[in-house]
Symmetry: C2
Amino acid sequence: MQLNIQPVPLEKAFRLLNHGPTVLVTSSHQGHANIMAAAWNMPLDFNPSRVAIVVDKKTYTRELMEASGTFAINLPCRAQAELVVKVGSSSGRELLGKTPDNKFAAFDLPTFAASKTEAPLLEGCVAWLECKIISEPHIQETYDLFLAEVVAAYADNQVFSDGRWHFEEHDALRTLHHVAGGFFFTPGEGFTTKP
Amino acid sequence: MQLNIQPVPLEKAFRLLNHGPTVLVTSSHQGHANIMAAAWNMPLDFNPSRVAIVVDKKTYTRELMEASGTFAINLPCRAQAELVVKVGSSSGRELLGKTPDNKFAAFDLPTFAASKTEAPLLEGCVAWLECKIISEPHIQETYDLFLAEVVAAYADNQVFSDGRWHFEEHDALRTLHHVAGGFFFTPGEGFTTKP
């Protein structure tokens, strides 16, 4: 368990995703678990706290999401960029029946337990959102689009506190923003503009 | 008209949004036009090119979107941060019947014509996506969520070419990533990680 993890009030959980980070989605069902990368995510509401995320129907993560009705969004950081690319370019389904039989073991990924859902939370990330799927079968099937209620949220208080990201002293903990083909940005200059 | 605008192939249009920028939404119908800020957007597919965006039902932009069936996503840059906050904290509906009667005139916003939709495109931005709404009344009404097909896309080739953003020499043209309350990041370090 990470030492710096702090709860984020649900009505402020959108601020974890508002600046557009690429995330890792974890899901678990009946002893099976998986993890995948997902750049296509966004807040959907702040009260109630909701998110939207695209998860391809080919993915094993989605199979476990749909079976359990839950998933978690993990925000990886600069120190985990290589891991994000590895996790994003491998299939958990292909590991089934092999040794190790899951990505967490294959990539040596330490996790800790969520409080309200089954999905494992990845250590070393800088924020986590536990999500319950809002059943919308038509858009799930047609667009691979999932809507979910955020039922718990946490962040590493070294870089997120009082409802704000502040990465100044922590380059390795900056969020990742994928463009394409393993090319990422991390957040640079932060500034406040008043109307 | 900007000099550096170049078309972006539709199957690569998702790369304009993949790193999570805050955008400006423009819409127009029967001589009325409006513009608003929207941090909650994401790619939805690359073939066909589709996007998802949240637009509150109170907004005048949405009224014009629903009337015309189209809208445009404009990606503002560092030089426009103050403008984004101004546009995002004012209502086009309240200007109706006044002089000037729209935000473009009130904030002195130069635009150029889109090629396939009615929505005006804002000069000084660094990318533009012309969008046709995919009618999904249930999620529009329930979640304020709009899905759309991207029918044309363009970018400023000073900072986006060959399917990649490259802001190195152009701090003023970096995209904006809103956290909350007028606090933004711009993209900092860019790097490539291979699996």
